[in-house]
Symmetry: C2
Subunit: 430 residues, 2 copies
């Protein structure tokens, strides 16, 4: 088998065999297939696509490239949630405790952030003492004890990490078969029986609009059916940052506020909807309206907050920030982004806002970089809000004046304020 | 400027600026742009093509990546010839002396062979003492003294060597803009004022048929016009090997036979036609019919043979093989490929024959391999020839029995013998 022939066949629109795809993935992982051949193949896939059989074969090869979490010893089925990466996406930190408080195990292996999108592991690591590097057995014990565990992906589907890094620098991210195989390989390796995938749609997101997201959603649901994982995709708007906070510790604090009923309405709305879907497909006997009502109840009556506290503490985290938010370290320099005119917020460019926060140090451009947990931004005005000149639109947390100034400049540009009132589009697209 | 943005813009069908293309070529050459980004871009070019301005910018960037031969100090304009790579292509070794014998300087910088196609430098190096690594000044002196010089490409357009090596292993060779920029960069760097490019068409060749070759031909002629080089493309059939020999020393011996009027008719025919075109576009006052007649005269009356002898000797080669062919070392093991039935040769698969000869050691798979000058094959039966069972179709020269057996097996399979007489297609396609 020669890689150049595999590339040529894909280039010419032929269907590759499962053996050819496994050869490619394994050869890449063990260094026999050089990166410059992999990226030519990725670009050929971008243009020529893949049959469903090819996507399944790629998913399988990625799963087989690493370890696989075995959750069969759990008494109840576990659920998982994935997001395609947005700006200020604090959902997991609230959703997990809500689902666990409803009695369904929440088992999530998560990656680190890359580019302008954050990673749940980075966020959790802003809590002193919190451990994300767990063994297989620790992961399972943690779920059995508290009903929830979130840990780093470790050795799950390592070939996917490599392929994703190559896609990221060769403009081959936006390919449905590659997106679907990448996400589903991590989910299958993670061992959960049911997964809700939140496809972010909009300017700060992988998919520009609903039409672009639908085929990828169908593909992931089909892969799930073929491999015994119940998958349901939802689409949420990423036209502006979700919630108010972007930045690691800032998002942890926002999660606590939301669990206390003091957070932004859009974040709570997304959490309740996703929780309802997860409960419904969990295999337990939940139905939609009852599931949503139960999720709302545990969020509003403090049960989910207590679960959050138990979870963080159980994974080694210092929980004093829950009662005393000021105990979580934030960057020392703050600066305000103020509206230059009066009117209504017409739009907030989530992509530009995410990049500004990333440049403060909250995100990384390369996988081997570290992140600064204390920097970020709090977006105080949202699309549709009425503001007067001088109104604080956002607050920046930075390490120094220069970085703060640059972030203020970028986030000022991300806000568009105009005279006309604005009708806010619904958060849930489908 | 970011390479990932350049790739994305090409992927989406946008036109790249000359600055972007120069950034890519220079970044690749100095190691700032990794190969895995270059190959993704190459595949995007394969699918999206290039505007003429982009092709010109790529050609210029490749030329600027290395040295450039300055032939302006020659009293007469020099001409050059390029072939897109066929099997058993001995043309240059005969054409150069014919053109020089007609009084027009022949100045060729040539590459080494790769894959199943040979390289003129490899062929010449089978002559003991022949020097292909000349300085700029030696190259010019040699032309002034004998009217002909063929030397290695050395430091001309080195970025093209690298790009070609990447294209070769990523199925991105067959792209007109990449083919045209690659060939024309070498020709422009070589310094000749007029070039004939022989586009091989057929199964053993870069282009499968005439329709595929025409756009590349037009493109190279246009690049020539834009950069002050007169370019004329011809297309010749590579449905079967050209001439009778394939292999380095074997082709040198065939060149001598042809210069003595004892070679195969197809080779002499191609040489006379190309010589006529070169004389016509040389800038000297030749017209087509007179040029062809003069080329035929010098080939038939021994003038070109004398020029060949003078040239080889002047570049340091031992010319005793011209009078004593047995003095050129050939591999010791010979084997015959015999027809298994009686009838007519229906076809000879040039690609399969070329690969068989390459595997004997006459060619290389990687640029850093050496070649064996003494091995190869002589194809004694050509398409249309009548043969009886047991008739010798070809003779193999190999280093050992095992290699000879494998070559016999492959070349037997390359010959198709059938009952029906065959009408031979013309060698010149356009």
């Amino acid at each position: 088998m020669h890689m150049v022939d595999i590339i040529r066949r894909k280039r010419d629109g032929h269907e590759l065999s499962a053996d050819e795809i496994a050869y490619l993935v394994n050869g890449y992982l063990n260094g026999e297939v050089p990166e410059y051949q992999v990226t030519a193949w990725l670009m050929a896939v971008f243009f020529k696509g893949m049959s469903f059989e090819e996507v399944l074969a790629l998913t399988d090869a990625l799963v087989d490239s690493g370890e696989r979490m075995d959750l069969s010893e759990l008494e109840t089925p576990a659920v998982d949630k994935h997001s395609t990466g947005g700006v200020g996406d604090t959902v997991t930190l609230v959703l997990g405790p809500v689902v666990a408080a409803c009695g369904v195990a929440f088992a999530k292996l998560s990656g680190r952030g890359l580019g302008h999108t954050g990673g749940t592991v980075d966020k959790l690591e802003s809590i002193p003492g919190f451990r994300t590097g767990l063994t297989h057995q620790e992961f399972v014990s943690q779920i059995r004890k508290t009903g929830i565990c979130v840990a780093g992906q470790g050795a799950m589907a390592p070939a996917d990490d490599g392929l994703y890094a190559l896609r990221d620098v060769t403009a081959t991210v936006e390919s449905d078969p590659l997106v679907a195989a990448s996400i589903m390989s991590k989910k299958i390796a993670g061992g959960a029986g049911a997964v809700v995938i939140d496809l972010k749609v909009g300017r700060g997101a992988l998919f520009g609009n609903r039409e672009q997201a639908v085929p990828a959603a169908r593909l992931m649901e089909s892969i799930g059916r073929a491999r015994g994982v119940r998958v349901e995709c939802v689409m949420t708007s990423m036209d502006q940052p979700l919630g108010n906070a972007a930045g690691n510790a800032l998002e942890v604090l926002e999660a606590v506020k939301t669990l206390k009923g003091q957070g932004s309405a859009d974040l709570a709305e997304v959490v309740i909807a996703l929780a309802a879907r997860l409960l419904t497909i969990s295999g337990e006997e939940w139905e939609g309206p009852a599931a949503a009502a139960e999720a709302r109840r545990v969020l509003e009556d403090g049960t989910a907050l207590a679960k959050f506290s138990q979870w963080i503490s159980s994974q080694g985290g210092d929980i004093s920030f829950i009662d005393d938010p000021g105990s979580l370290e934030l960057a020392p320099v703050t600066a305000h982004v103020k509206s230059e005119s009066s009117g209504y917020v017409q739009s907030v460019d989530a992509l530009a806002a995410g990049r500004a926060v990333q440049l403060l140090g909250a995100g990384r451009l390369r996988r081997d970089e570290s992140v600064d947990h204390g920097v970020g931004g709090v977006f105080r005005a949202r699309t549709g809000d009425g503001v007067s000149a001088g109104h604080v639109l956002a607050t920046i947390y930075a390490r120094d004046r220069a970085a703060a100034g640059e972030a203020v400049r970028r986030i000022t540009a991300a806000y568009v304020v105009g005279a006309e009132p604005v009708t806010v589009k619904p958060l849930f697209i489908a």
